[in-house]
């Protein structure tokens, strides 16, 4: 009873963490000692995810955890700043879940260092890189700077491949059970349910998406590569002249020329990508421009991942229908 009454007061300040002697001393010094006597017991995990898809996944496996996503579906996870707010979140995390494969190279290392949290450093059980659980596509042996913003460790947007996602989910459940053995049973139970449901969904999606096989699109380089591979869609043109560079006028006219010789069914871009080039091109070619969600958004909590896939397939199907 004590806990429930004090939780709203304490939680914003102290995140379920044991207080070391030093903090205690500092607390006295700063005159906030009274607040520190009521420390809530550790209940579940405190989780920071780099991308919202991992937040959605963690919610499936550990619904009673405190989970925060560092980015939203509207943000390009390549371009995030190691903001003070994120450092504070990282400071208190028992587990950090990130895509890896260098996707967060611009900010995650700084968060890890500045957060001074031993649990989430590389090599510790509290740092979970999804890319380490699966095989990425598009790995590069030799990378040089003229190639643009490429990922030698392969394409990091594998959450749009339902099979790889499942592999990651199972590994994540095991990891959660390892760092929080008290709730191990519940994590295993939850992942079993999720797995069964997900298999059913995969069969459903593959049935629905049959008309998409053979579709030819122009898109931003690697964003939807896994999705396209899974659904049999081929990417015939890349909106970026080089990975990481915005579509230039010259590059767009080259794509327009390409569209004269090659069938293009649609121009595809992600929720956080610049739409102007894509829309210009789609008008010129006379095919729909499809804005696809790169990840889950906050609207749809319980079945976020399922509705993300429903949404992706639905939007692609709609475009083919309006075309045909």
């Amino acid at each position: 009873m004590m806990r429930t009454s004090f939780n709203p007061l304490i939680n914003p300040l102290i995140n379920n963490e044991g207080i070391s002697g030093l903090l205690f001393a500092l607390g006295i010094a700063l005159g906030i000692t009274p607040a520190l006597f009521f420390i809530p017991e550790a209940t579940a995990l405190n989780i920071l995810t780099c991308e919202p898809e991992w937040k959605a996944l963690a919610e499936q496996i550990a619904p009673h955890s405190k989970i925060y996503s560092a980015t939203s579906a509207l943000q390009d996870p390549h371009h995030i700043e190691a903001r003070p707010g994120l450092i504070a979140k990282m400071r208190n995390a028992d587990l950090a879940i990130c895509s890896g494969a260098d996707l967060e190279a611009g900010w995650l290392p700084l968060l890890q260092m500045k957060s001074a949290n031993a649990r989430i450093q590389n090599g510790k059980d509290g740092m979970f890189y999804a890319a380490e659980q699966i095989d990425t596509i598009g790995k590069l042996e030799n990378v040089n700077p003229t190639m643009g913003d490429v990922h030698p460790e392969g394409n990091p947007h594998f959450h749009l491949d339902p099979y790889r996602l499942m592999t990651v989910a199972n590994a994540l459940a095991e990891r959660m059970a390892k760092i929080d053995p008290n709730h191990g049973e519940s994590y295993r139970e939850n992942i079993k349910q999720f797995d069964e449901q997900w298999q059913k969904n995969i069969r459903k999606w593959e049935q629905e998406a049959k008309p998409l096989k053979g579709m030819q699109v122009v898109a931003y380089h690697t964003s939807f590569e896994y999705l396209f591979q899974w659904l049999g869609i081929s990417m015939v043109g890349d909106l970026e002249p080089k990975p990481g560079l915005p579509p230039s006028g010259k590059h767009l006219s080259r794509l327009l020329k390409l569209a004269k010789n090659t069938r293009v069914d649609a121009v595809v871009y992600a929720s956080y990508q610049d739409k102007s080039g894509a829309e210009w091109l789609s008008k010129q070619i006379g095919v729909p421009a499809i804005k696809l969600p790169m990840s889950v958004n906050d609207n749809n909590k319980s079945q976020a991942l399922t509705s993300l896939y429903d949404d992706l397939i639905g939007k692609l199907l709609k475009a083919t229908k309006s075309n045909g």
Binding site: N11, P12, L13, I14, N15, E17, I19, S20, L22, L23, L26, T71, S72, L74, Q75, D76, H78, H79, I80, E81, A82, R83, P84, G85, L86, I87, A88, K89, R91, N92, A105, G106, W107, P109, L110, Q112, M113, K114, S115, A116, N117, A118, Q121, N122, G123, K124, P145, G148, D149, K242, G244, L245, P246, Y272, D274
Partner: protein, 428 residues
């Protein structure tokens, strides 16, 4: 005179790197980065380290890697070309703990002090070609030193970091200090920050730096011999050339400067007072026993997507107190201070523009009197980044003020900053 500026050949560093890349140390897969930074500047400007014409900025080579699961290490070597000599300076060589319990971390070695907002950031991430005037005057552009830092991050949802640093303080030593304390500088700081939401982030900070060797002593009558000689010289200058910048420029040619210093042997001469030490040694030219700083930063990116557009506003105020033992200075005058306000807007993935206004007011101490120096600086910047790794910047600087050399109405600088190798993390 500043023994940090050891002139070495760049070759040994290159050989060292070559060795690292061919040796088969287990799990040694560090990040290498090389920053190329060069510019053309139309005029020399006040309190600046760079000259008119073509020049190199911070050409730096850095290697960093976790050492093991407990330590992280980083080395940054900076190359300066100056008077057809190349200096290699170690700007950072530190280790930092990664796994101390309870939000504590310790950094030791040589590193950038966490005083203020800009100081801990690498200059190549700056939005303007040089640091604000107040930084150039009071911190020698950016203050790095040998020492140790302990910081503690509170376990709060709001970011709240408190820390203390102790440094040798050689770069912040007042001139003519006899028998300086070997641990000269203690810095205490706190930074508080957070997000209003995904779009808006903020941070404020408070700093207090104690500089045991920061107060300029009075001149010493025992050394009248050398003193008089320079006094004479000084008077001459007072009478004939005091406002002529060109003359000062000549005065500060290295050769002559060194000769003067040898002559005066660390005593109070006009020239060492104006000390332009070696250009790239970043010694503060205005010091005091107590240095206070406040900082505030606010950043906004539509939908939190920094790639396409974002705006950042930052401001800092610095004040140095107890600057001299000289009794001729009234207590209300006994300070240097300055501030800046900067706004940078990245309006397209490849384009950014910015404006910065800053002021510095300081006292230049002579034997028995002082001059009030002041500088007001307005800067406008436009930059284009082809990719993440390459930036070209055009800047217009307008300076006003008095008592300083090379105050110039209009200075145009064209600069490039390119980074090869691992990309630097995006610090807030």
């Amino acid at each position: 005179m500043n023994n940090r500026c050891i002139t070495k050949t760049a070759l040994s560093l290159a050989a060292f790197l070559g060795y690292l890349s061919t040796s088969h140390a287990i799990d040694f897969n560090p990040n290498y980065s090389l920053i190329l930074d060069g510019h053309y500047k139309s005029e020399k400007s006040a309190l600046s380290e760079t000259d008119k014409g073509f020049g190199l900025g911070h050409v730096e080579l850095s290697i960093s890697s976790p050492v093991d699961d407990l330590f992280f290490g980083k080395l940054t070597a900076v190359l300066h070309s100056h008077d057809s000599k190349t200096d290699v300076e170690t700007e950072e060589a530190f280790i930092q703990t990664l796994a101390l319990p309870g939000g504590l971390s310790v950094r030791a070695g040589r590193f950038l002090s966490d005083f203020g907002y800009l100081n801990s950031q690498h200059t190549h991430t700056d939005s303007f070609t040089e640091r604000p005037a107040v930084y150039r005057a009071l911190l020698g552009s950016h203050y790095f030193d040998d020492g140790v830092r302990v910081s503690y991050l509170m376990p709060t949802d709001i970011y709240w970091n408190i820390g203390a640093e102790a440094f040798s303080g050689k770069k912040l030593r007042a001139n003519n200090i006899k028998d300086p304390n070997s641990v000269g500088v203690y810095n205490f700081f706190t930074k508080i920050g957070g997000d209003f939401n995904h779009e808006h982030s903020w941070q404020i900070g408070f700093n207090y730096l104690r500089n045991e060797n920061g107060t300029s002593p009075r001149s010493h009558p025992v050394e009248h011999h050398a003193h008089n000689l320079h006094q004479k010289h000084h008077d001459e200058e007072e009478h004939h050339h005091h406002d002529h910048h060109e003359h000062h420029e000549k005065e500060h040619h290295h050769k002559q400067h060194d000769a003067n210093l040898q002559h005066s042997d660390g005593n109070h001469s006009h020239h060492s007072n104006h000390h332009h030490d070696h250009h790239h040694c970043h010694k503060a030219s205005y010091t005091g026993k107590d240095l206070y700083g406040v900082e505030a930063v606010w950043k906004w990116a539509p939908e939190g997507n920094y790639k396409y557009r974002h705006l950042s506003l930052s401001a800092e105020y610095l004040q140095a107190r107890n600057i001299t033992d000289n009794k001729t200075i009234k207590s209300s005058d006994d300070k240097h201070d300055g501030w800046y306000l900067s706004s940078v807007y990245q309006f397209a993935p490849q384009w950014a523009t910015g404006i910065r206004y800053g002021e510095f007011n300081g006292l230049k101490l002579e034997n028995d009197h002082h001059h009030k120096n002041s500088l007001q600086e307005t800067e406008l910047m436009l930059s284009w980044s082809h990719s993440h790794f390459s930036t070209i910047r055009l800047q217009w600087t307008h300076q006003k003020g008095k008592g300083l050399e090379h105050i110039n109405d209009n200075i145009i600088t064209l600069q490039y900053v390119m980074s090869l190798g691992a990309h630097d993390a995006h610090q807030f």
